[in-house]
């Protein structure tokens, strides 16, 4: 029997497909282990979908992909009730949301109504339909991709929806050497199809449970709260980070410590994660001009705020 695959094995596995983006890969695993959902935001064609696909393929989990379009309806996601003639009753036909990893591709292409149909699933890991509750299988992770807000034909995600994503990642263009490797790869096969699964769904749940046990020392909790507090008091922002955001940062920090092989958090974990975990949860004040929705801009604001909070010694 082979040894249990470790976190570095998984990272390496995904890195075989997504070239030159170890940080993005690490963060997506962090999101998975923190029981969070991932929002990938970038221009089309930099590998958002491939990342989600690779992550799903590395786990022996069910994987569904939903291509969000402007005419997509909630029932296309959640499922529908169909009248069964034999039984003389309505029968629930589960939609694509009933999977371990759900790729919501181009989530901001669809209407807010359809976007919001994901809310319950993402926060409570269950679906209510026709007065009935259907629990989703664990682990459950939504990986959503979206194009930057300025693009045409997009509906920006509502704040409540955004808040449910653990982190927002930008992938960015790869460096030329890495891009070259992508081109040299045989194109006949989808790259993610080469990957073999390393972890079962059960393994993932076990790892998630272990992450909960990572120690966060009091002073680090205080540090984290001080960062959150600074977003609420900043003049640059009209909306600060919610308690859910603070919780998300805490869970993400634990997961990052775990991924990096530590059983305890460091201030570094919090500091590193703060921009990507918090930036999509804030609203920039009107006075800040037209670039208010740009994710680079909000990340920079968070980074500046974090840099002003003293680190515990």
């Amino acid at each position: 029997m082979n040894a249990t695959p470790t976190i570095p094995d998984i990272l390496e596995n995904i890195a075989r497909v997504i070239k030159g983006k170890p940080h993005v890969i690490e963060m997506s695993v962090v999101a998975l282990l923190a029981r969070g959902h991932l929002l990938l935001e970038d221009v089309p064609g930099v590998g958002k979908t491939t990342l989600a696909h690779s992550l799903a393929r590395s786990l022996d989990c069910s994987f569904k992909r939903i291509q969000f379009t402007s005419d997509l309806l909630p029932s296309d996601i959640v499922g529908v009730s169909i009248f069964n003639r034999q039984k003389q009753a309505f029968e629930f036909m589960p939609g694509p949301i009933f999977a371990n990893i759900v790729l919501a591709d181009e989530i901001n292409r669809t209407t807010p109504k359809t976007q919001s149909s994901l809310l319950e699933a993402m926060s409570e890991a269950q679906i209510s339909f026709d007065n009935k509750t259907y629990p989703l299988s664990q682990p459950f992770m939504v990986i959503a991709t979206q194009n930057p807000a300025e693009y045409h034909g997009t509906f920006p995600l509502p704040e409540s929806q955004l808040d449910r994503f653990l982190m927002r990642l930008r992938i960015g263009y790869p460096v030329p050497e890495e891009e070259r490797k992508v081109l040299e790869r045989p194109q006949s096969l989808h790259p993610a199809e080469e990957l073999c699964p390393l972890l079962t769904a059960h393994d993932v749940v076990a790892l998630q449970d272990q992450v909960d046990k990572v120690r966060m020392e009091e002073s680090i909790t205080d540090y984290l709260l001080a960062i959150v507090q600074s977003t609420r008091q900043s003049d640059l922002l009209s909306l600060g980070v919610s308690t859910r955001g603070a919780l998300a940062l805490s869970r993400a920090a634990k997961a990052l410590s775990f991924v990096r092989g530590r059983a305890y958090c460091l201030p570094d974990d919090v500091k590193e994660l703060a921009p990507i975990v918090l930036s999509h949860r804030i609203m920039v004040a009107r006075a800040q001009g037209s670039r208010q929705r740009s994710s680079e801009h909000t990340e920079q604001i968070i980074q500046d705020l974090v840099d002003s909070v003293p680190v515990p010694v």
């Binding site: 020392e217 002073s219 059983a263 305890y264 201030p267 570094d268 840099d307 003293p310």
Partner: protein
Amino acid sequence: MPFNQALRLTSILLAAVSFIGLTLGSGLPAWLAMLTGGGLIVVLLRQFTTGDLRHLATHVSFSPAGWNLLVIVGFLWFWVDMFWISGELLPAGIHFLMILMVIKLFNLRLRRDYLHLYAISLVAILASGSLTTDLWYFPIFLLYLVAGVWTLILFQITKGAEDTGAPPMGGQPPQPELLGRVTPQLFWLANGLALVCFGMTLAIFFTIPRISAGFYQKGFGENIRTSGFSETVNLGAIGPIKRDPSIVMRVKVPRHTLHAVDRLYVRGVSFDQYDGKSWMNRLGYRRNLSEESPGMFIIRGHEGPAPSRLGDAIQQNILLEPLDTSVLFAAPFVEKISGKFPAVQSDFAGSVYLPFPSSSRIEYSVVSRVHPVLPADLGSELTVYPESFTKHFLQIPYTSERIGELVKAITGSQRSPYEKAQAIHTFLMRNYRYSLDAPLAGVDRPLEEFLFFRKTGYCEHYATAMVIMLRTVGIPARLVTGFLATEWNEYGSYYVVRQQDAHAWVEVHLPHSGWVMMDPTPPSVEPVGDVYPAWRALERILDNVKLQWSRFFVQYSAADQLAVVRELKAGGKSVGHKAFDSVTTLFSPFMKLFGGIPDYVFPSILRPQGSIWGLVIVAFIIMLGLSVRRILARAFPDKKITQEDHRIVDLYKQMIKRLADKGIAKTATTTPLEFVHLARIRWGEANLVVASITELYCRTRFGGIPLTDEELGMAEDGLRQLTILGKS
């Protein structure tokens, strides 16, 4: 074999040898021998085998709480064992020791664990030595010695290597390879060393005589010379002794007799024959005193007045330092003497002797009775004494006309012997001066020299003069030497008797009263008191503490222990009182010194026994508190902020300071790892040290994982290295 592995092996062997010693000495019951032996085998397997056996052996373990529980169970078992199963302290203690040894064997992690194991094995091998006199102990002891030398050498080597050796990199303990390995040279060196030790032990064992306690107390040949108590006394020999302040004895008298005696005559031996220059004791025959009860001797047939006419009894407890005389000193006249003596002898003149001089400090108690002058003697005539009596006490070396005329002139008007003696006494007291510097030893007739020319002298001259003058007029008299105790220690209520208190005086025989003491020596005019009374007081306090120490600790013999155990077994209540007494007597001088402490601080409800129990309970509570704290600390490691944690935080801060000196400042918002990164860019060679210290710091500060001593030592080394790097 690497050093640290070899250290483990020799440590386990050390324990094993002491265990074998105990087992052969039949100090262990079968089950305990099996348990300990099994433990040793498992530990050895765990350490020096591979594969399945090792795997099996590593499973024999408990959690820290389990071990703690085991210690507590073992401790309780010790008491059960002592009172009900073995019934004695030594076996029960050995059993407990073995349990401790097994526990330590399984928990050999830190240096102090090793040290504990050595201590346990040392006690075990000593205990096995006390259990047996068989020959097999010899090889066992030899093995123990070899293993011990090995262990200590390896312990020192590994300690030295870890203290100074390889710089701690990345938080890893030093590799065994860095410490070096056991070479053949070292092997033979260590074994040779052990053999040399053994040879020296043998040499000491056979050359130095084995004697009872007290031999080394004073060192060789340091027994105090007491010329005054040899068979002869030369006039002039006391001079140098008089100034010797070393303590000869301490005489404790009951407090209630205090008002009666401000000075105490401690009688040694009496002399009857004077040859014109020196005194001799011709009362050669000594008879053994009858023993009334064990250790209690009575002097009977003492030629004295009827018991009804006797004076006050003086009870004394005497602690006599080792002297080269067998005389037992006591206040005159001894009635009963008790102590741990095989026999006590007495001569015709009532002096008391041991059969042989004691080489150690001895303690005895005496009841003496003063002979007062009876009214009948105030007007009595001279009586005729038998030949056997006059031979001794009316002896005169030669007839001196000058002395005869002098005595006639002094005593002519007096009729009774007592009045004559009084007249001579008064004459000597009034007309002669006391001086220590009166060397008469070389003079042909020292007595005449003293009486008619010098007219100064010391006690022996006075006493000799009076005895001879009394004998000249037909009154039996004898010279007595001893000590005149004047130094009263109020803290312990006893007299301190020093060599310089040596004294000589006279005993006169009166027809009705018997032997009566008279001292013709006038008091010394030389300053006796000290300029610093406070210092004197302190000295007396110290002396008292020494005395109590000697009485209750040094002289606490095996017999006393047996008695205590017996009493404990019998459930006697007096043990508590005794212990309390000894403790309070030991510390009472201090209490008196800080005498302002009023009585109400110690309310009367605190009876001695209550105090003892209170003490026990308090000690128990403290122990319980300590152990509970420890258990809690183990159960909730998150809450544990130990000394080490603070230490590593301190070290980390010092490291930041060093780097700041180098221009690499850590701002308030720099995280630990960012700082490491910064240091790597700015000061490449310090990177490893900074990284390792930061790692240890983070682990302890944020991870709550306590550091081991080794890791802390590594961090300290790293900081030192950083300082050196910073200077270069």
